[in-house]
Structures are given as C-alpha cells and as structure tokens.
C-alpha cells in the first residue's frame, strides 16, 4: 500500500491520467465531459498533475476560440504504469491465497 503513488491514487486524478494514457492529446472539454468534474475541480487536479511533472498543458487557439490541450508526459506515463503494476501486485496475491479447510475425519 505504501508503494502506491498517492497523487495518482486519488479517483479524479486517476481517471484523468487513465484517460490521457490512451490518447496522444486531449482538450479540456473532453476531460471535463469524461471525468464529470466541475471546471474548477478539473483545473485544480490538472495543475497538481502539471506541478508533479505528469502532464503538459498547452494553451492554444482553435480559430478564435481558446483551447487547452493536455498531454501525458513520459514521467506521468511511467508513474501510471507503475501504479497499475503496484495495484496488480496488491490484488493478485489475495486472489491466489487459499484458505486451508479442515475436513472432518
């Protein structure tokens, strides 16, 4: 449990990182829609992920409309993979554990 990255383990941030792990880049609207967070909450989580060096945020324009593009950085991808592996390690031994049953003689 101590191996888990607490920054990623938080449900909202885990959803954001999982969403970004399967795409090249996504905009703020896509993340807003898929995470069902409020604009403020999503911004806060993205800033925390950016501060940790997990995501890269680029402010650009689509025509005259401002657009915020978000990409998962190599550090973020590595952290996500490590998190998944840690989670798998935690879950698998519990699946494999067998309880010895004492049969009546």
């Amino acid at each position: 449990m101590s191996d888990l990255d607490r920054l990623i383990h938080e449900p909202a941030r885990l959803t954001i990182v999982a969403l970004l792990s399967s795409v090249k880049e996504a905009d703020f609207l896509y993340l807003l829609r898929e995470t069902k967070l409020t604009k403020g909450n999503l911004s806060t989580h993205l800033i925390r992920l950016e501060e940790a060096g997990y995501v890269e945020i680029e402010k650009t324009f689509r025509g005259k409309i401002p657009m915020t593009l978000v990409r998962l950085r190599a550090e973020g991808r590595a952290a996500f993979q490590s998190y998944r592996k840690s989670m798998k390690d935690i879950l698998e031994p519990s699946k494999m554990r067998r309880v010895p049953v004492q049969l009546p003689t």
Binding site: M1, H9, E10, P11, L14, T15, A18, L19, S21, S22, V23, K24, E25, A26, D27, F28, L29, Y30, L31, L32, R33, E34, K39, L42, S43, L46, I57, K59, R62, I65, P66, M67, T68, L69, R84, M87, I90, L91, S94
Partner: protein
C-alpha cells in the same frame, strides 16, 4: 482492495468517443456505397480501358473526398461540442498486425470468390462478425444492429438468383453501406441534440 476507478473501462473511452457522433458510421457507410457502387458500375459498363480508368479514378476520388470531409466535420461539429481528442499513432507491431489482417482477409476473399455458391453468405458472415466484435468491444448497440441487418441482407441476396457471385457481394456492400449511413445519420442527429455547441472552455 480495488482501484478507485475501473481503469480498463476508462482507457477505451477515447475509441468510444470517436464513434459516438455517428460520423464514423456515415463515413464508412458512404465509403462502402462508393466502392461497391463504383465496382458495380464498372462491371455493368463495357470493358474499355478509358472507362475502367475513369471509374477507378472516380471511386478513389470519392474515397479521398470522404476522408477529407470526415476530418472537416469532426473539427467543425464534433470537437467544439464534445471535446477534441487525438488517438495515438499505431505502433510498429500494430502496423504489422494490420498488414497481416489485410493479407488474411484478402486471401480469404480470393478463396471465397473462387467458391461461387457460398460467396454472399461467407462475406456476410465476415462483415457480421466484424460488426459484432466492434459492438461488444466498444459497447455500441448500433453495431449489433448492423450485424443483424447484414445477415438479413445476406438472406435476401441468397434468395435473389440475379444477384449472385461478385455482383452479390458488391450489392451486399452497397446495402450495408446504406444501412450504416442511415443509422449513422440518426446517431449524428441525436448527438447534435444531446450536445449543443458550448461557450468557450478553458482551464
């Protein structure tokens, strides 16, 4: 202890997002109509080199035009409403897998075409299997309908003696194309109703 979110479900969201507006279905449907229709016209016309080249060029231009139109519509209609997402470039292994699949499908098609009597049902089974797999993989009910419609079209074409062999397969392609385009158009209309164009969005 479980992960706080279903990671496997979240990671297929991007592929689902690409298909939710119905534009992909419309595009693939129109592509089937252009390709199947183009080849049907080619079969019906006399085999002159100029006509062959002309129909092939028109079919290729139609396919390229559809691809261009699809990208434009995505940029102008879908992305401002439901967000922009770029799927990752395929890896070398994925390219190899796709080439192997094309080779297999090509080889299977040649084999099926050589056995004249089972042509339409065999192609229909392949198309229906692809639709079924896509429907289950990306949780798209419309794909399951496509699979069912494909089998119904196959039954109709098998009972129609004038549409056998290669002509039957091309007719099947056109019929599948029309059904995909119609279903896609309904889904596109629903997408527009459910996703009005929002105001400016930024972090």
């Amino acid at each position: 202890m479980e992960p706080p979110v279903d990671i496997d479900q979240v990671t297929v969201t991007a592929q689902r997002h690409w298909m939710e507006d119905g534009l992909s279905e419309i595009m693939v449907g129109l592509l089937f109509i252009v390709m199947g229709g183009g080849l049907l016209v080619k079969l019906a016309l006399p085999h002159w080199l100029t006509l062959d080249v002309l129909t092939s060029a028109l079919t290729a231009a139609g396919a390229l035009g559809l691809s261009w139109g699809f990208k434009r519509l995505k940029q102008r209609i879908t992305f401002p409403r439901s967000g922009y997402v770029a799927l990752p470039e395929p890896t070398r292994m994925r390219w190899l897998f796709m080439f192997a699949m094309f080779g297999l499908v090509g080889g299977a098609s040649a084999l099926i075409l050589s056995a004249h009597s089972v042509v339409v049902p065999a192609f229909a089974a392949v198309f229906a299997a692809i639709f079924l797999w896509s429907g289950i993989q990306y949780k798209q009910a419309s794909m399951l309908w496509e699979a069912l419609l494909t089998l119904i079209f196959a039954v109709i074409l098998t009972w129609s003696p004038s549409l056998s062999g290669a002509v039957g397969v091309l007719a099947l392609m056109v019929m599948i194309g029309v059904s995909m385009a119609v279903i896609g158009a309904f889904r596109f209309r629903n997408f527009l109703k459910a996703n009005p164009r929002p105001q400016e969005m930024q972090a």
